[in-house]
Amino acid sequence: MNLEQTKEKIINIKYDNIPQLYNECEQIFNSSIVKQQKEEYILITQFDGIGDAVLLSGVIKEIKNWYNKPQ
């Protein structure tokens, strides 16, 4: 399954509860090329307000430094 098909499949999942949503998504991902790609980025997610964003600033610096170090 290519990237666009994966997106469309996920958007159109039918489910009744969260564990079922997870299982449906897992099946889609398992047959998708998403899982075959080279993963090299770091994502930090913060869907909240200004204060929380400021309070995250210090650890963002440490995450970046950690990732930049030779592993």
């Binding site: 997106k7 958007i11 969260i18 564990p19 998708s32 899982k35 090299e40 869907f47 204060g51 210090g58």
Partner: protein
């Protein structure tokens, strides 16, 4: 970095962030709607640009916000790091199904900064000094310099706040400002426009600055006086001394502090500050079930109005004498 568009200005000058993708802030009425918006962003900004994630962090300790758990999972990321959301009350957290690494948040880690760091420290098994920062561009700094005084103490007066109950009454604040002979810079957002008419001292910058400009201006000031909002953290990050009004009474702060005390989770980090709080909550907040932040009359200045003008002026005199 994935965030709401409304906080983009906080992150945009951060040299440790290479790219920011944003969602519009909204209260999703269904998981389906959240999936649709998330997938659209992930597909357009990550997948088709050949960007695939190795580690996805959601470091906030929150029981309410399910979107980051889902979003990180939908990116297809192998390593998804987040708190198991309900550790404090030891209830099953259904969003934990989307997480591959989680640790319980210890009761000793109450402040939000400590919590953010704790999860990352556990993940990589390394300790750090816990700090916060803000970043501004030179252009914006030059632009807001016009508001600063070279002779007087530059004081940010923040009349903004996410809820009315977190706002100190502006008429009382105006009486206090009448007695402070410094360069007073009044800030707030569009919601504070009406309130700002009652402030007759200082320079009224309410709804006149962008968030980016506000951050730059605060970073160059000496003192913060105002409500408990995101701006107090900007001030703390820049080591301003802070005098902060809280609606949460002292009597409430130890009722499930890690869950319900806004003060204990969000006091100004690593800077000199005086917290002005009512000793006790007003009725009905005083005797009914404790809510987050202590005061449950959200649509007006309620418990917070007990803070006396003379106590604010006393704090103003005292703060410069305090050691860091």
């Amino acid at each position: 970095m994935a965030c709401y568009r409304t906080v983009l200005d906080v992150f945009k000058n951060n040299p440790y962030i290479d790219e920011i993708i944003t969602l519009s802030e909204k209260n999703y009425l269904s998981v389906e709607e959240a999936i649709k918006d998330s997938m659209s962003l992930i597909y357009n900004e990550l997948w088709i640009k050949n960007k695939f994630i190795l580690h996805a962090f959601y470091l906030q300790y929150s029981a309410q916000n399910q979107l980051p758990y889902l979003f990180n999972y939908l990116t297809g990321t192998k390593n998804r790091i987040a708190y198991n959301e309900n550790d404090y009350f030891e209830l099953p957290g259904e969003m934990s199904i989307f997480v591959t690494f989680s640790v319980p948040c210890p009761k000793s880690a109450i402040h939000t900064v400590d919590r953010h760091y704790y999860l990352f420290e556990q993940y990589i098994q390394q300790k750090f000094d816990h700090n916060i920062y803000t970043y501004s561009s030179i252009d914006i700094i030059e632009k807001v310099k016009q508001y600063l005084s070279k002779d007087k103490i530059n004081v940010i007066i923040n009349i903004g706040g996410s809820l009315q109950c977190k706002k100190y009454p502006v008429k009382k604040l105006n009486k206090i400002l009448a007695q402070i002979n410094d360069n007073l810079l009044i800030i707030g957002g569009i919601k504070e426009l009406e309130d700002s008419q009652y402030i007759t001292y200082g320079t009224n910058l309410v709804n006149k600055l962008t968030l980016e400009e506000t951050i730059a201006l605060i970073s160059m000031c000496d003192l913060y006086i105002g409500n408990d909002s995101g701006m107090v953290h900007v001030a703390a990050a820049n080591k301003l001394s802070c005098i902060v009004f809280y609606c949460e009474s002292e009597a409430k702060e130890n009722v499930f502090p890690g869950r319900l005390s806004a003060y204990k989770q969000f006091y100004p980090w690593k800077t000199k500050f005086i917290a002005l709080r009512p000793k006790y909550s007003l009725s009905p907040c005083s005797y009914t079930t404790m809510v987050y932040g202590g005061c449950k009359i959200h649509n007006k200045s309620h418990c917070i109005r007990q803070i006396k003008e003379e106590d604010v002026l006393l704090a103003y005199e005292k703060i410069n004498l305090m050691e860091n």
